[in-house]
Each structure stands twice: as C-alpha cells, then as structure tokens.
C-alpha cells in the first residue's frame, strides 16, 4: 500500500475491485465503514456479488480478465470529459514528457516487437531528450507526442460500446462508476483503490494495476490522504518477506539480483544505478551502491572489504534473460533439474497454479524438507491421490515449527508497518521456532564444509552467522543487522558515529564499507533510540490517523508515500482539511527562507518547488523521488508488455476474438511446454469461465485453518458457486455434488447455487462464470475436497510471472452424469 489501513477513512470514494475486502481483509472494513459514515461513496466491481458488494453504494459485475477494458474506458471518460486534475497532471506526472518518434502502436502491438523471440525492444519507447540528456517536456500537454496526447489517442479506442461488449458490464453501469470515481479529480477530493489477487493473478496483472495507477495520477490521488494505490496483501508478513526478498529477482531492499553479465561490483553499479541529468530530480536510486555495499557487509561482515569487492563474487548470479520464478521453478523441477527442495512454511502442492504439475514435480526430487505446524498436501504428497508410495523415491523430512505466538520477532503489514510481537508460550512437544531450525541447519552445513571442504566453500564459511544468545536464535540480533551499524568511527555532517553504533537511518549509509545494513529500507527500525517496531504509543498527533509513534513503518517512518505530491508547488496541501504534510518555513520578500515541513515525514525534505511570489526554486526536487526523472509514471517504458496498458484476453477465455485488436492474448505472456501445460480456449468441452477466491473462515491453502474445529465447522468443504441460470442449464440443484473439470484436472465440489453470479452478455453471447475457494486439500478434513488449483493453468504475467489463477475455463457437471 502506498497509504495504510486507517487512511482509508480519509477517502471520498473507495473503489474495491480485484479484491473482496469485507471477507478477506475483514478488519479493513472498519475503516471503509468509517469513510462511508463520513459521506464517502463505496463502489464494488466484481464478477460475483460479495459481502463487499452488499455494503457498496454501487455494485456492478465484469467478466474475469477484462479489468483493463473496464478501467481503460474510465481513462477515456476522464480525458474526454475533462475530469482530470490539470495542474497535478502537468507538474507531477510524466504526461508532459515528449516520447521519441520510434514509439508506435498498431493493432494490439507496440513498436519494437520481435515475433521470433516474443519480446519487445524497449528502446523504441524512449523519451526525446534535450542537449543535456533530460526528457523534453511540454507543460501545456499539447505537443502531439507528449505522453498525455498519446494516452488520449490510445484510450480513445475504449468506447462504452466496445468496453461493454468485452466486459459484459451494462453501459449505464460503466458510466455510473466512471462518474462516481472521477469526481475525485478535484484538488480537495481523494479516491482510493483496494485491490488484491483479483488483479495480480492474470497474464495482464501488472497492466491491470498500471491502468489504475494512471487513473490515480490523472485524478491527483497519489500522495494524498484517502488516496493511493493500495494492494491488500494476504499474509501477515508477505510485505516483509517481499522486502527481504525471498524472491529470485531481488536482494533485500529491492536491489536487483545480479546477472552473469555484471561480473564485478563496478559492473553491477553501472548496470543497475539509474542516472538522471536533471538537477531537479532526486533520482533516489542513485544511492543504490551504498545500499548494495551495506547489504554485502551485513552478509559477510569483516570478511567483506574493498579488496574483495565486498564479497560480491561470492553471491550467485542469474543467467541474463532467464527467469527463475515460481512457475519456472516448478517447471524445472518437473523436468528433473533439482535433487533437493525446501518448502519452508508453504504448501505448494495446493497453493500454486496447475497443482497436478507441482505434485508430479515433487516425485522427481531426491529429497525435500517441509517445515510447518500441521501435516499438509506437500509433506504427504507421496501418499496423495493418484500416487503410489512404492514408486516415489523422494525422501521427505518434516520439521515441526513454532506458531506465531511461540516466538519473538517482527512482521510487516500491508501498510508497511513493522510490528514487533512477543512470545506467549513454548512450542508444543519438540516443535521449534523457524529461526532456531535455520541456525542449527546452517551451522551443520558450515561445519561439514569446514571439515570436509567442498565446492566453492568461501561464501558458506564467510557468512556472518552470529544470531544466537545462549544458543538460541535471537531476533534482536538479526533486527540490529537488518538496521545496520557503523564498522568504524565515521564523521558525517560534523557528527561522529562510533564503531558498533547502530545507523540512525538510511541517509547515513555509505558505499565504502563503513556501514552495514541488511536491508536499507529497514534502516531506522532498530537504532540507538531502541526497537522502534515495538512502539505502542496510541496518540495520533496528525489528525488523519497516521499514528506515527505506533510501531514503525518503512521508509523512515513515512506513513504515506509520495506525500510531496499532496501539496501544490508552494507546499500548500491540495486538501487543507486533511493535510498529510504542509510547508511551514518562513517567508521573506515573497521567498521561502527557512525550510520546515509539518505532518508526516516528507518524501525528501527539500524546499517546495515554488516560492509564494510564484518564482521557481532551484534548490528543490520533483516529488516522485524514486522515479529516475522524478515524475509519476503515466507512461511506463520499463514494462515488458508495453508502456501503456492494453486489453488482451486471458490465455483461456470464452470468446473467439479480442474486440480491441487482432492480438488475441498478451503477446509476451509466460507459457510453458510440458505435457502438463495444456491450455484450451473456446473449447466446447470447457465452456464456463472459472475463478478462485477465499472465504473469511479459511486462509490460503487452509494449512492452518482446516485443522481448527471452529473454523472448519463453518466452512467444511469445497464448493463451487454458480448462477441459478447455469444450474438450470446443467440440471444441478443447490447442495448437490458436482464435478468441476478443466483441461488440467478435476475436483469434486458441492454446488452452491446463488443469485450472486449472473450470466454475462459478452459479444452478444451469454457467458457463465463459476468460482471456487482454494482452501481445501485431500489431507484434511476427510471428504473436504481438493485444491481448486488443480484446475488453474501455469501461465503467467510477463513482468511478475504471477500465474493466471483468476480467469480460466472449466466445465461443471452433475456427479455421475
């Protein structure tokens, strides 16, 4: 989230699309309700009428996988009806940038596409630069190659007729949503979006979110209270595990994992450090070399120094252009590339797309370690449906671990608040905290290498690994390493910091090895003022619910990101009633002479862009400090599938053509080629759109919740929800057992016939959609059903490679027929 949970109360219009907050993030609704009490409008857009929809002021449905069409129509509406926030768009977004002549878009393809490699050459989308290498701008937005004019042209194709024919949403409903939401384009109004996996789990997932981000920029909703782009994340620490980068492509703090072409640290810094020639651009990532060296120092301690490139050579490198993501990982496992596998606190046999492929892949391993609280479909895969244990070679080690209240440490919520939690009891029996298991396992591995030698032992032997107190894992010691410390006495801005002292915040990190920081974004979380994540001060001085002294939030306790876009060029809040920050420096002769901001931690504390007398300042920076050029990205030339979003059909869909172009599906989507990767589109055997979702009483694969009697009693088994019309069509009665099948697998489920699904009218055809929760698995409870992911395809977004589990094709029939 760019904003945070409590901030939802500040919104004037809340769009919930691609999520079902009332059921999946129930307590978020405390703040949605608060906003509604204050007069906010709640809009729910969902293929199914959910409990979120039941609380909405306006609800409408769309067919799964058509969000870009729906929102593209909104962009067209905003631009055609002059609903955008002109000053904000011209000054804070890249709408004013002039794009080079090589950019083009024709019949669903952007320029630079190579059909042989199925890749774009992004240099075709570059900006036109001036003699200093700075993008040329036209603040009037009139130049025909400004981002603004190109955007207008691109989305002029998203007419109400076409959008309605694709999405199945009635035209009058589209107009209603567009009207309600675009009313937040006024300077003192804020609109927010609450989305989740309903947007990400598509082969156009990133562009779904890009489309909304463009809307938020056009309406001036970024940086303000009650605005932002807010991903409702689904696990207690999925924000933290992302920040610390248990992901192939990034190191902690969103530092790119090096590829083979970056052989040295100098190569790495050159390749990954963005350059701006504009003196008014903060280009914050220019600091990357400081964060990388501080990270390597945290990894290898004193063994990392300038003489050995701070241990850069010890770190593994990816092959250039190759992906190692979830889908790629299980594809490689299926093809027998791994002998060993850790499934640590996760149940991939149920949680990923195309679960049958995953389960089969597990049989190709020599050994697997599964760490969990309860038995699960991954640990016991060798005795699962269709498996003959006598033919499965894989050795399995199941290590029982502590539950969340049986250990101490921090978790980071969706609003980036890192909150400390404490131990309330010992784990049962011989179960152990995960931290202890890691420490003991790595100690043993290291001692083997010390004793016996082995291939390239250096990084193993040199890893800093002093995270215990009295032989037990000590979360405080790791928290200090994540924050970072000075490795020698250093004087910065006339102040001397002693060796061993904790670094106050990331502005103090250095590229010369004099500081460590396991994750620069968390630098300040645990410093000389204490464990800031453990703070429990319930006062709110801000008046807008920032609670700045409760826990700690990254970066530098800034509660609302991009907050310098919440003020005008002179530093005055667009909405004086709900200021996030405001400039409070002194004025002399029409000029600001002292620098002071009040409110939230400003996104860089520079002077405002303009003096009260209207003169522009030169000692300031543009507000979007993480972007190389300092402007919000309406044009996104870094994406793999185009600088503007474009509607493509899901890899499996019910229609024979894409009404927007002859490019049917995303031309650069990730697809796979084993015999388990079957994709069927417009196949009469699979006539219905399928999607997956969650219920309040269960969580993810149900690995924790299926074992709890209270929760299991309320939601005991897999069901498939369908409309009354579809039930009639298939002769199915509510409560009957049915079979749901896709080209990849089948599950047995109880039919739940409701009015919450309605058939869609798509391209003049009646289209049905069904939905299944994905919380179940064969291990427990007996007859509870199996994973809905046995149905979903292994196809992924070309940027994130997140699987398309929200739109695929299925058939539903009565059991035994």
């Amino acid at each position: 989230m760019t904003n945070h949970w409590i901030d939802i109360k500040n919104s004037d219009c809340i769009l919930i699309m691609g999520s079902n907050a009332a059921e999946n993030h129930p307590i978020s609704f405390r703040w949605v309700t608060e906003a509604q009490k204050n007069g906010a409008t709640l809009i729910s857009v969902d293929p199914r009428f959910t409990r979120t929809s039941s609380k909405a002021d306006f609800y409408t449905a769309l067919r799964s996988g058509t969000d870009i069409a729906f929102l593209g129509g909104m962009i067209n509406y905003i631009l055609s009806n002059n609903k955008y926030f002109k000053e904000y768009v011209a000054r804070y977004t890249n709408a004013c940038f002039i794009v080079g002549k090589k950019y083009g878009f024709h019949d669903g393809l952007f320029s630079g596409f190579d059909p042989k490699t199925r890749k774009y050459d992004k240099s075709y989308w570059a900006y036109e630069l001036d003699e200093n290498g700075v993008p040329k701008k036209d603040y009037t937005l009139k130049h025909p190659r400004t981002v603004f004019q190109l955007l207008k042209k691109h989305f002029s194709r998203y007419t109400l007729d076409k959008v309605s024919a694709v999405t199945g949403t009635p035209k009058e409903d589209l107009v209603k949503v567009y009207e309600l939401y675009s009313a937040t384009g006024k300077p003192d109004k804020a609109g927010t979006i609450m989305y989740a996996m309903g947007w990400t789990q598509h082969t156009v997932g990133v562009q779904n979110i890009r489309t909304m981000a463009i809307i938020q920029l056009l309406l001036g909703n970024m940086g303000v209270a009650g605005g932002g782009v807010n991903a409702l994340r689904g696990e207690s620490n999925v924000q933290g595990s992302t920040d610390h980068c248990l992901l192939f492509h990034i190191w902690p703090g969103y530092l790119p994992t090096p590829t083979a072409s970056a052989a040295t640290l100098a190569d790495y810094n050159k390749k990954y450090t963005p350059v701006s020639h504009d003196p008014l651009s903060a280009n914050w990532w220019q600091n990357r070399p400081k964060y990388v060296v501080s990270f390597l120092k945290a990894m290898f301690g004193d063994a990392a120094d300038a003489g050995n490139d701070f241990g850069y050579g010890w770190m593994p490198k990816l092959d250039d252009g190759k992906a190692y993501s979830w889908l790629d990982l299980f594809d490689a496992m299926y093809r027998g590339e791994f002998s060993g596998f850790f499934a640590w606190g996760q149940n991939p046999a149920c949680s990923g797309a195309n679960a049958a492929k995953t389960r089969e892949a597990l049989t190709r391993l020599d050994w697997m370690v599964n760490v969990n609280l309860f038995d699960n479909e991954t640990a016991s895969f060798w005795k699962g449906p269709g498996m003959d244990p006598g033919k499965v070679k894989t050795e399995v080690f199941f290590l029982p671990c502590a539950a969340f209240m049986e250990k101490e440490g921090s978790v980071t919520n969706s609003g980036r608040w890192a909150q400390w939690r404490y131990k309330a009891q010992d784990p049962p029996g011989e179960a152990k905290p995960d931290g202890d298991i890691m420490v003991e396992l790595f100690n043993e591995i290291r001692s083997l290498y010390a004793k016996e030698g082995g291939v390239f032992p250096d990084p193993i032997l040199n890893l800093k690994w002093d995270y215990t107190t009295d032989g037990k894992f000590d979360a405080h010691k790791v928290a200090r390493t994540i924050n970072g410390e000075f490795t020698r006495d250093v004087t910065i801005k006339d102040k001397t910091y002693k060796k061993g002292q904790l670094v106050p915040s990331f502005a103090f990190l250095q590229a010369d090895g004099s500081t460590t920081s396991g994750n620069w974004l968390y630098c300040q979380s645990y410093n000389e003022s204490g464990n800031n994540m453990a703070r429990r001060d319930t006062t709110d001085a801000s008046g807008i619910g920032l609670y700045s002294n409760w826990a700690w939030c990254w970066p530098v306790n800034r509660r609302i990101l991009y907050n310098r876009a919440s003020v005008d060029l002179m530093g005055r809040p667009w909405n004086p009633k709900k200021p996030v920050i405001a400039f409070a420096g002194e004025v002399r002769d029409g000029k600001y002479v002292t620098n002071k901001w009040v409110g939230d931690v400003p996104d860089g504390g520079w002077y405002p862009m303009m003096n009260p007398d209207g003169t522009l300042r030169t000692d300031t920076k543009y507000p979007f400090i993480m972007k190389p050029h300092g402007f919000g990205g309406i044009f996104g030339p870094g994406r793999n599938d185009g600088p503007f979003p474009e509607h493509y059909e899901p890899i499996e869909c019910p229609v024979e053509k894409n009404l927007f172009s002859s490019q049917f599906t995303n031309p650069v989507a990730a697809v796979y080629g084993t015999e388990k990767d079957v994709y069927k589109t417009c196949d009469p055997r699979y006539p219905f759109v399928g999607t997956t979702y969650r219920v309040t009483e269960h969580w993810q694969t149900g690995v924790l919740t299926r074992w709890q009697p209270w929760l299991l009693e309320t939601e005991p088994q897999l069901f498939v929800e369908m409309s009354e019309e579809l039930a009639r069509l298939r002769g199915i009665k509510n409560g009957e057992k049915v079979i749901v099948e896709s080209p990849r697998g089948a599950v047995e489920a109880v039919a739940m016939v409701t009015k919450r699904f309605r058939p869609f009218l798509v391209q003049g055809q009646e289209i049905h959609q069904v939905g299944l929760p994905w919380h179940y698995g064969w291990v427990w409870p007996p007859d509870g059903g199996d994973s809905a992911n046995l149905l979903s395809p292994s196809a992924g977004d070309p940027n994130t490679r997140i699987p398309e589990t929200k739109a695929f094709m299925v058939n539903v029939r009565k059991k035994g027929v």
Binding site: P26, I27, R30, S236, N237, S241, T242, D243, L246, F248, T257, A260, M299, M315, L318, Y324, S325, A332, F338, S339, F342, W344, G345, S351, W367, V369, D375, W382, K393, F397, F398, L399, P400, A403, F404, S414, W417, Y422, Q425, P428, G435, E440, L441, I445, F456, I460, L463, Y467, A475, V478, T481, G518, N519, Y522, T538, T696, Q708, W710, L711, T714
Partner: protein, 193 residues
C-alpha cells in the same frame, strides 16, 4: 481512576454479560456477581502478551493470556489498544486460540524414506545432520561455476526453495542469507503467487 480502552471494554463486556443474565433474577438468583467473579478467575493469573495476527496483512493486534502455572495460552482476544483493529477480530483471528492449543499440531520430526508408505519419528539431531549431508551432496554435485557462455555465476542449480510469508522479518532475512550463501537462485515464496 484512569481507564484505558481495554479496561473499559472489559468492564463494559462484563456488565453486558450481567445484563444478559438479568432475566435470571426473576428466578430468585442474581447472577451478576458470579459472572464477574468467573470473568476474573479466567484470566486473573494470566500474563498478557501482545502479538500480531498470523493471517492477512491488516496486522491486527491480539492479546494472548498465558497461564502462569502451566505456561500455556488459555485465551486470546483482540487488542483493544491497537489503532487498526481496536479490539475487533475476524473469524480467523478470533480463533487464534485454536492454533495455540491444537492436538493436531505435529510435535516431532517426521521422516519418510524413499519408496516408503509411512512416516517415522526422528530426533532433531539426526534430521539436521542428515539434511545437511544431502544439502552438501546436492550442492557440490550441481554447483555451476561458469555458465554456458563461460561467465562466472557461482550458483547452486540443483536445490530450490519456496517460503515463507509466514516467517518473521528476522527469519526471512537470515533464511535468504543462508540460501544465497549456499548459491541458490531458485528462491521463491507466496508473494509470487
């Protein structure tokens, strides 16, 4: 007396319970003192420990009540001081107690041998040693110093890892540290799906 919101909620919920039972007084009993005593007894010896819910990423506060004698969690409730949830919890968060006390939890290391049809109980010491041996064998066998283009990559291509968004930050950090020190590149977790 200065009341925190939690004190207030406790008192008001006790009062509500008393009111709900008010009908009993028509039978000649006044249940209210008994009810209040019962409330006190349940948690009077318990230690309160704040934690954060383990499910979605709203980050609601939960208070665990731990019995001083047994050291076990005997009750969990929403943290009324927490600015996000103000004491409220959803169905899952409200059932946190059933994670703390659940006889289906696995409490011993389990091992399944190749081609076997059953689990065996094992000691930690045995498991850690055996896993470490397999890690080393897999790593040494699959380690790629140079890729097909001859570039130095120093990576372990034969082991993969998934997980976990259920770990604490500090565990995530040391887990990525040990995996990357071993040379793993196939490192993924819930955030990707």
């Amino acid at each position: 007396m200065k009341l925190t919101r939690r004190d207030f909620l406790k008192i008001s919920s006790a009062a509500t319970a008393g009111l709900a039972l008010g009908g009993c007084t028509t039978m000649g009993f006044n249940m209210q003192p008994v009810q209040e005593q019962a409330w006190r007894l349940r948690t009077q010896d318990a230690k309160e420990t704040p934690t954060i819910c383990c499910y979605c990423a709203v980050g609601c506060g939960i208070i665990c009540h731990t019995d001083n004698r047994s050291g076990k969690v005997i009750y969990t409730e929403g943290d009324a001081d927490h600015p996000i949830n103000g004491g409220a919890l959803c169905a899952k968060g409200a059932a946190a107690y059933q994670i703390a006390r659940n006889e289906k939890r696995i409490t011993k290391v389990l091992y399944r041998a190749p081609y076997s049809s059953r689990w065996e109980e094992k000691s930690w010491d045995w498991a850690i040693k055996e896993i470490a041996k397999r890690v080393k064998a897999s790593r040494d066998k699959s380690f790629t110093v140079k890729n097909a283009k001859g570039q130095v990559v120093n990576r372990c291509d034969g082991i993969a890892s998934v997980g976990s968004a259920a770990l604490d930050n500090e565990e995530c950090w040391i887990y990525q540290a040990m995996l990357r020190a071993m040379g793993l590149v196939y490192i993924e977790h819930q955030a990707r799906i």
